[in-house]
Every structure is written in structure tokens, then in C-alpha cells.
Amino acid sequence: MSPVLEVRGLVRRYGTTTVLDGVDLTVEEHRVVTLIGSSGSGKSTLLRCVDLLEEVDDGQILLDGVDVSDPRADVAAAQRRMAIVFQAFNLFPHMTAVQNVSLAPRVVHHVPAAEADERAHELLRRVGLERFAGAYPDRLSGGQQQRVAIARALAVQPRLLLLDEITSALDPELVGEVLAIVRELADGGITILMATHEMGFAKQVSDQVCFLDAGRVLESGPPGQVLGDPVHDRTRQFLARVIAAGRLV
């Protein structure tokens, strides 16, 4: 059986700068794969490419063995099978929490309104926000907004969940509540590809950690090995900086 996601030789350039320079990556079903790397190393770009929000310059993205980066592929159909949670939440400000969550099931997956609404409430309960179902995003704290964003992503029952540094815009005391939900999802068996600066968290939930450097996956393996005993000097330097910043628990 083919892996949920397979990235082969992915290249992405902005003008003359090459941000992704031949990325290879595989995510098997029920696995959590984590991307680490310094700021600007291309983690967000990679996730946006995988979600087909950006065009790729070279290489392939295979979703369940089907090349979705091909210009002839059905982009919308592929996007329906993935969901992404952004660094900056990107909730729809003119909709309440529950409307944010039920939108895609209603208009994309044609779930009847009542059923979509009920499922949205259920998802909000799962992220601990049933009390805020009727609240607009500007009335929610950062952590609460990010949890709504996670519920919104889960509402489409994605085959692959993409998480882009979902805690980096949050105050330290709000990070815990969001990470607790991701841990629960990982335990529940959902397939996740995520970028994070939270090394302690990466160590706990990941099956595999990939260190991204200069547009390539320089090193990848089990979290204990990559984070504890890296092969490359660049990885070592990066981790040393992270430890100095107090991010490796």
C-alpha cells in the first residue's frame, strides 16, 4: 500500500531564490511527521506546496500514490482530502466559531445544514470550546481561535492534516492547550505533517522528525535520534541554538 503522502524532489523558487531545493519526504498512514529547521528554511512553503496552495517548480507530490502536483490533476479534489491549520489561524472573521467549522462540510461536502451544525458543535466540544460556539473570532483568545481552526480542519475529515507552527503566534501559557489537542489527535491515529519550533513537543508526538536546511531535508529519523544524537553539524548547531533559547524541554 502506498504512503498517504510522498514528496519527491520538490523544488520551489521565488524569483531567483530557491526556497525548496529537492525535498524528499514520506508520510505513512497513522504517522506524525514533524518538520524542524530555522526560520526561513522553507517549512511553511513546503506545507503550502503540499496543500497545493502554491505551484511547484519541479518534483512531485503524491497523495495516496496519485500525483496531485501534475497540472492536469484535480486540485480541488486533492485539497478536499487535506486540511491545513495556519500559523495565523485565518478564521473567517464574519462567521461565528460554529459557522467557521461547519462551512466546508456544508458547501463542499454537501452535508445537510442540521447535521453539519451538530457535527461542528461536537468538534468544538472536542477542543473544549462548546461554550464559544456562537462567538465571533475577535472575541476569542489566540489559543481559542487556534483550537477553532483545528476543529475547522478536522470537520472535513482529512486524510492528511497539515499543521504549520500552530503555536508560534500564541502566548506561552496558551501553547499547552493547543498542543494537548494535537497530541490527542495523534493518539487517535490521524496522519499529520507538521512544522514546529516546540522541540519537546516534537519529541513526544512524532514518529519521524525531518530537519530542513537550505531547502533540503538534511536529516530525518526517529525523534530520539534526530533531536538527541544528530548526524550532521548543521542539525547540531540548530539544536544548540534552540536549547539556548529554552525551547527543548
Partner: protein, 296 residues
Amino acid sequence: MARLGGVGAGAEVRGTPVAPELSPLARDRLAYRRSRARRSTLVAFASTVVFAGAVGVGVVSSPGWPRVRDTFFDIHVAWSSLPPVLAGLWLNIRVLVVAEIGILVLGLLIAVLRTLRGPVFLPVRALATGYVDLFRGLPLLIALYLIGFGVPALRLSGVPTDTAVLGTITLILVYSAYVAEVFRAGIESVHPSQRAAARSLGLSHRQSMRLVVLPQAVRRVLPPLLNDFVALQKDVGLISVLGAVDAIRAAQIEAARTFNFTPYLVAALLFVLLAIPTGRVADAVAARAARRQGAS
């Protein structure tokens, strides 16, 4: 599972908070603020009376005043001209309502057409851009003459010849160009990340536009839209140049009949009265928009 912390905001998300018991200090300050507010009101009132009095005395004591009073402020003429002018205003109001609806629909359509991407839509985009360039630059009066007198002269069957209808069409054509630009500015002010979020959820371009981008865009441009609406309220009077018997045309007829300018003043007063509620609504909407911006 993480539970939300003891955030008090939850209880206040919908209901109004209960007024707390005031301390003597707070009561004292409140009383002081109230007395200051009363004083400012009094000062404002007094200065308005003095100012209005001075202007009034200045006008009334001018050498030409008796003549002006007789030709502009004749109460009998005002009374007798009121019914026809009011009947004319009713035409203005109907034109206003129809034109406004047409303007909003056409303006939004043009704005959306201008945002379409891709080579297929190039002609549509070019057409929409050309339309905006043409009708934004064309003076309304000239547009009224060209359409109001030019179109009937073609003597085509099925084309309206009623001057009020032609005037309404002209207003729609000209104002849509402005309103389209207002809508487009609103659409472009919605951050691209909103579109990305919609697309990543699998929404099509049309669904993203209709459900995510446009609702936010329209909310943002409501104050300038209402402003354009106020401008339209008086520009509907320009259809009188085509001969449609609206408030201004009715006033003109009455003025010619009585050899007196008072009917114009009556019409002017009615137009101002008509604009006041819209102006207040526009202010309130703008204030609300500003509050929302400040809040988030």
C-alpha cells in the same frame, strides 16, 4: 484534554454586563462629569443662538432683503406649491430606490468581473475596466443628455422613451462605475490568507468569493457606499433636465406660474430633509466600523 482557563469573557460574549455598585469616589466623579456636560451643552446652545441671530440680523438688514423676502420666502406661494412639488418628490424617491438597487447590483457585478484572473477572462476584464474609465469620467449632465435625448432619437422599437426611465438608466450607468470601484477596493482589502484558507478547505473560487471574501468586503465598504447613496439622493433631481416632472421640475413650473422663487426653496428643503436620515445612518455605520476596527 485542555479546558479553557477561567476566562470571564465567556459570560459576556452575548449578554450585557450588570452595572456594578459605585463607590463614593466614582459617584463624585460621575456627578462632576455630568455637570461639565450640562455646562458644555448650555455654552453650545448660547453660542448657536448668538451666531444665528447675528447672521439673521445681517441678512434682514441688508438693502435687498424686502425683495428677497417677497421672492424667496412667500408663505402663500410655498403652501400652494407644496402639493405639486411633493408629487414630484415622489417620482424622485421612486427613481432613487430603483436606481440604488440597480447600482448596487451592476457595481458589484463589475467589481467581481474586474477581479477575475486568467486569460479566458481577459476580454471581460478589459470591458469592465473600460466601462469604469468611461462612466467615471463622463459628467452626469452630459450622460443624461446623451442617453435621455440620444436613445429616443434612434426610434428603435422596444427601447424606453419615458424620460424618468431613461434618467434612471443613466444614473445606474454612471454611479455603478463609482460603486464598482468602492466594491473592488473592499475586495482587495480582504487579506489573501482568507482566500487561501477558503481554498484549502476545498471551496471553489466562486464559493470563496461569495461566502468568504464578499461578506467581509461589503462590510468594510458600507460607510463609503452610504456616502455615495447620499450623493445619489440629490443627483436624482438632475433627471429634471430631461423634462421628467420631479420635485425640481415641479418647482420650476410653479415658479414660472407664480413669478416667485419660493417653490425652489420648498424643493430644496424637501431634498435636505430626505438626506438627513441617510446621513445619520451613514454616520452610525461609519462609527460602528471604526469601533470594530479598534476592537480587533
